[in-house]
Amino acid sequence: MNGLNVAKVVFGAAIMFFLLAPLIAILPLSFTDSVFLNYPIPAYSTRWFNELVTADVWRRSIVNSLIIGSGTTALATVLGTLGALGLRNHASFWSLSFIRTAFLLPMVVPAVVLGVGMQLMFARYNLTNSYLGVIIAHTVLAVPFVVINVLSVLQAIDPRLEQAAASLGAHPVTVLARVTLPLALPGIISGAVFAFATSLDEVVLTLFVAGPNQRTLARQMFSSIRENISPAIAAAAFVFIVGTIFVALILILSRKSLARR
């Protein structure tokens, strides 16, 4: 029995190492002074973070990511929240599994396949090489997250709360604005966060749809790894990992505020 326990600990630790070590190993490299991504690090500096915000390609890609990420978040959150509100009333008719299947398809279809189709079709409507085109492409991938998140919160709302509001004299629109939406807010927020994160990390559709002017941070990292790898990648990765932890905190906090009710 003891031998089994030792084996469990060793194996579990080894796999945790496999899972986490690559993420941890990349962090110190972002502070290297050298132009090589190697250990041992000769000297520490923040020159690559400097590079990230001063070099034109990196700076523009960060700005582009923020523009496209905000656009995607706004579009996906509005479309997804409206859709979830509409689906909710007839959730039993549509049946949840059907909704899940239909709206998860964009996540299932390989991005390359969708990218080829989008490039072909967007070219016809002059959507390639435009911010709008990239935002639309990202929204297709992001909107399922919003629908799923908002729908699950909406279904947890006691319908009697809305009946109570109506009985107290609230018009249906007021019920929506003052009761339903405030209660659904945690789901809307986490949907929006997922949408932004999806856009931030999206590469494949961007490759197919975006032009040189819409190069996002992820797209820039992709070509930088492919063509000309430098510690700026590690610096960008550092920003991403810190951002991830930040976003995870927001989500956990918004869940907690929901649980407190």
Partner: protein, 393 residues
């Protein structure tokens, strides 16, 4: 009463409509466009209307008749759109090389002299039926199975029968097999690591379980690009892995870990492992904890209890996880594109090459269709399984 229900339906419809229209226009329509690119072949009939009418009666082997040549020359004179001409040349050249030089030469000649209808006089190659066969097929129909066949290394003979492409002329079948093998290897690697890991996570509780699950979730939440970049840096010839092994004296020259299949499998296993661990874990924690002690009390030694009790009960999680990993691996692009070798490409890289590099939409669409169908079949199986699961509960 009825009006009321109708109104509530209308409101719901109005709320869902923007989302549905958005997905129809920007999700379904692109996929349709891709599929139609794979099977449509409108250029020949559009650019060569006269030829199309006359060449229909040609048997495909006898020397080209003067009428065919006259019709072809007339069609060429009528083409003003350089874009259309370029598409036509590309279309014909993809069936037989040589058109790229032959066509501009012929076009210039017939445009210069409105009476020059003897094409053989312009270029000897026009006497060869082999140059007229592509014209006949290109003008015969606006849809084609050429790309779909080519996606699995097949083609139609001049007689119209399906046959193997000549050895070495296309590598699509090899790519498909390679994609399958790599995906299968990644799935197996994930299963070998993920199953015991999920079992360990399910067997402990409290902070230990949180820690084990956190280690799976953190990479899942981290940017895919960051994870790929990390592996790129680690796997380099002078990366952390090789330099540590050298420093320990285990190796003398760096192991080739990047730009080959080993690197792809390692990195993809890391990326997809959560999709194996989480479904298995969720099935395992649903199994009552006292089953193993119960089996033991009934006289089953631990290994037999595992084999006869725990494993059969977790089959569903294992199958779900494997399907998820395999399905995702099939269409993976970023990791293989950055870490894989140039001669060891998976299907998604080939699709991307056809689309962005070669502008061969037909082939990109055809391979895309193969990948799409494979993915959707796997997804359907996956849904069936998880649907049955829910029905059972």
């Amino acid at each position: 009463m009825k009006d009321d229900r109708k109104r509530s339906w209308l409101v719901s419809l109005a709320l869902v409509a923007p989302l549905v229209l958005f997905l129809v226009f920007f999700f379904a329509a692109p996929l349709y466009t891709m599929v139609s690119a794979a099977i449509s072949d409108p250029i020949g009939a559009r650019a060569l209307p006269h030829t199309s009418a006359i060449i229909e009666r040609w048997d495909g082997t006898s020397p080209p008749s003067p009428e065919m040549q006259t019709a072809f020359a007339e069609d060429l004179r009528a083409i003003d759109d350089d874009q259309l001409f370029g598409d036509l040349v590309r279309r014909l050249n993809s069936a037989k090389s040589g058109f790229r030089t032959l066509m501009p030469k012929t076009r210039n000649a017939v445009k210069a002299d409105p009476a020059a209808n003897d094409l053989v006089a312009i270029d000897e190659r026009w006497s060869d039926p082999a140059f007229w066969q592509p014209v006949k097929t290109a003008t015969a129909s606006t849809i084609t199975d050429r790309n779909l066949l080519a996606a699995v290394d097949l083609e139609r003979s001049t007689a119209g029968d399906i046959q193997e492409m000549p050895e070495g002329s296309s590598a699509n079948r090899a790519t498909l097999i390679r994609t399958f093998v790599v995906s299968l290897s990644v799935t197996l690697a994930c299963l070998l690591i993920g199953l015991p890991y999920a079992m360990i996570a399910a067997s402990v509780d409290g902070w230990k379980r949180q820690l084990l699950l956190g280690a799976v979730l953190l990479p899942l939440w981290t940017s895919l690009l960051v994870r790929t970049a990390a592996w790129f840096i680690l796997l380099q010839d002078n990366g952390l892995i090789n330099s540590s092994l050298t420093a320990l004296g285990l190796i003398n020259s760096p192991l080739p870990l990047i730009f080959n299949r080993a690197g792809v499998i390692i990195a993809m296993t890391h990326v997809l492992l959560p999709f194996m661990v989480l479904p298995i874990f969720s099935v395992l924690i649903g199994i009552p904890k006292n089953l193993m002690p119960a089996a033991a009390s009934l006289g089953a030694p631990p290994l037999r209890a595992f084999w006869n009790v725990l494993l059969p009960m977790s089959t569903r999680g294992i199958v779900s996880g494997s399907l998820l990993v395999f399905m995702s691996a099939l269409g993976y692009y970023i990791t293989p594109a950055l870490i894989g070798g140039a001669r060891d490409q998976m299907i998604s890289s080939v699709i991307a090459y056809y689309a962005t590099g070669a502008a061969n939409w037909g082939m990109a669409g055809a391979l895309g269709l193969v990948l799409l169908v494979a993915t959707l079949i796997l997804y359907t199986v996956y849904l069936r399984l998880s649907g049955e699961e829910q029905a059972k509960r």
